[in-house]
Subunit: 397 residues, 2 copies
């Protein structure tokens, strides 16, 4: 059984803050500053250009891919890291479409993160082959899986409501109609066990700055199922995805397997932060994390519903149908969230009316949840949120 | 006049090393570790998710773009940073091709960095409209500028030989035939003054880990000429290039100007390293850097040619025709370079026979060049390079 007091001790959280926004940006793992300083001084500073070999920078994207792979049920050697999630979405979708050249529909849902839809839009326009991006309501996805669909492109957990798709069932249904299934695990990886292999997923992508705590702008990851890895066509055919990058040939030849999804020079400093952040998984079991997360989210829902009648639950009540966040609808949610942040309870707001709270047992415990409930009740019920200074809308929330 | 002793004091170079590979990876600016630690603890650690606004992370890519813009003659507000150079090549080329829909040729040369050619190859295949990537010898580019050419895509300085194209002349020639000109400034930015505006360049891209010293995997940059910025179609239409990213609309609307070339969440830790690395330009003048670089490279060429008859100069002798590196051909260049590195003179090797040495007055002075020449002469003329341990070819050199 995971010792959650030990995992909590690995994070540096500000005094007096209850951080319920790790689903947007995970907090600072305590060892990151020292390890990055060592990387800067002993690797970049001392080894200079030879760091690519001698400090293992070149091999790092695949090594870290495997560390993440263990959390998401990927076969070893089939996940790599780098770039941003939007870029990885583009790569995965482009590869999938090349495998279904006779089909013209990308099926997604309105609960997908907008950037995934935007990247698809850009890709389809660039391809100019008359593809359609068909965006339906989350609950209608299954009905729209027809033999027109080339790729089913979904984010497993809805970034606003926390509603979770049934990855196994939808992947099987996609395959049954001859489509490929591509999953965005932004709100899954590190939040609960994912079983890519067991589900038969074709592609998966995700980011590392949420439940994986790699810091702002941490590298993304991409998984290509072993059965596709040797024939997936890389749309973004950069030199580090080349079979022999340092041969400097004029023509591109894709590297072996998922290696071909590497593009340019990896961000070594961010990779180092990710590497350190993944150390918590040496002592945390993802199954334990999920079990505890269900307890915490149940506790939070019960507490808020009892104390704040004005907040309407937007997240499925059944734990099997949600990720590791809880969202409530409230018309003045923006101002209310500002007031909560001023009181040390950090969640976030998503237009038009969603107040989001993320939970991870790695650094949030029952006492934190109880205290958060008290503060939220106090703020909501005294209308402390209704002060003018909380109503000024910033560019980013 | 720039005080080069003062600029040299801003870098942390290992004792006993003469670093002539800043054209591949610039050395560590002395203030980077402390500034990154502050960013980690005070921004990520303390501000958490609010860092996007309160620590200025969201605005950083454009702010740093302007800092780079001053070195490359860009108009303020027309450079942004992020991703990798390969990604930025893809974006610029895709935008250019959309502006010349009736043309089918991308003209480049065999001196371009292979990843640029690979990215073009992938883009053209993805577009599936019968485009041709026409790769000619560097000296034949001008003859191949015809009215078939949609985009002329070149790297200003050849990564192997250091040969420099005439950006102004080729851009004018491209425009004369109705083509667009796109320049990769990987070996230009920070090495010598570039005048994008004066040359009339349409697009420019570059990396920051060479002469801009931002560290391994530092973010890339992209410039879009003001006359195109409002209509360039972003192929990689990620959420941070959206007109209103935090509206979370389901459909994409490009942001204003070069902002639309942003894609996903920026790598804030790497951005911080870049920010610190750019501080040297507060005390260094890029014109002075160029003048001194010409002196140093002249000194190096004269010294090596006098002392090492076995090395054949691969770089143009006329300073106007070269960047800030000097390359020599030597059949056993790989082994020789390993032997030099063992003696503390760090350059690098590019297949099949190029020994590269980069020079920047920011941290290399006449005494370093003289000492490097002595060591190279000693190694080459005593055949110290011809020992078995230097002949083992590593994956990355």
């Amino acid at each position: 059984m995971t010792d959650f007091a030990a995992t909590k001790a690995l994070f540096d959280l500000p005094e007096g803050v209850i951080y319920l926004d790790g689903n947007s940006l995970g907090p600072l793992p305590r060892d990151v500053p020292a390890r990055i300083e060592a990387m800067l001084r002993e690797e970049w500073g001392e080894k200079l250009i030879t760091g690519w070999n001698k400090a293992g920078w070149m091999a790092q994207p695949m090594r870290l891919g495997d560390r993440i792979g263990k959390l998401i049920g990927a076969e070893p050697g089939h996940v790599t890291t780098g770039d941003t999630l939007s870029i990885k979405v583009y790569q995965a979708l482009a590869s999938g479409l090349e495998m279904r050249p006779e089909r013209r529909v990308v099926l997604s849902d309105s609960g997908n993160f907008p950037s995934d839809l935007y990247m698809a839009e850009g890709l389809l326009r660039m391809m100019g082959r008359g593809h359609e991006l068909r965006v339906v309501a989350p609950e209608e996805v299954e009905d729209h899986l027809t033999d027109e669909v080339a790729v089913l492109m979904l984010t497993e957990v809805d970034y606003r409501t926390g509603r979770r798709h049934d990855m196994k069932r939808l992947t099987a249904k996609a395959h049954a109609v001859g489509a490929l299934a591509m999953w965005d695990l932004a709100h899954s990886a590190g939040a609960f066990p994912v079983d890519l292999k067991g589900c038969g997923a074709d592609f998966a992508v995700g980011c590392t700055y949420k439940y994986l705590n790699a810091g702002p702008g941490g590298p993304a990851f991409i998984y290509v199922a072993p059965r596709h890895a040797g024939r997936a066509v890389p749309a973004l055919s950069g030199w580090l995805g080349h079979e022999a990058p340092f041969a400097f040939d004029l023509g591109y030849r894709p590297g072996a397997g998922v290696d071909r999804m590497r593009v340019g020079t990896p961000p070594v400093i961010q990779m180092t932060a990710l590497d350190v952040a993944l150390d918590v998984w040496d002592i945390a079991d993802i199954g334990d994390v999920r079990a505890k997360s269900v307890e915490l989210t149940d506790q939070f829902i019960a507490g808020i519903e009892a104390a704040c009648p004005g907040l309407e639950l937007a997240t499925p009540r059944d734990p099997a149908l949600r990720g590791s966040q809880v969202s409530f609808r409230f018309a003045d949610g923006y101002a209310a969230m500002q007031a909560l942040i001023a009181r040390g309870v950090i969640g976030d707001f998503r237009a038009p009316d969603i107040m989001r709270f993320g939970f991870t047992p790695l650094y949030i415990d029952e006492a934190d949840v109880a205290r958060a409930v008290d503060i939220i009740a106090d703020v909501m019920n005294t209308a402390a949120w209704d002060r003018p200074e909380y109503r000024v809308r910033a560019a980013v929330t």
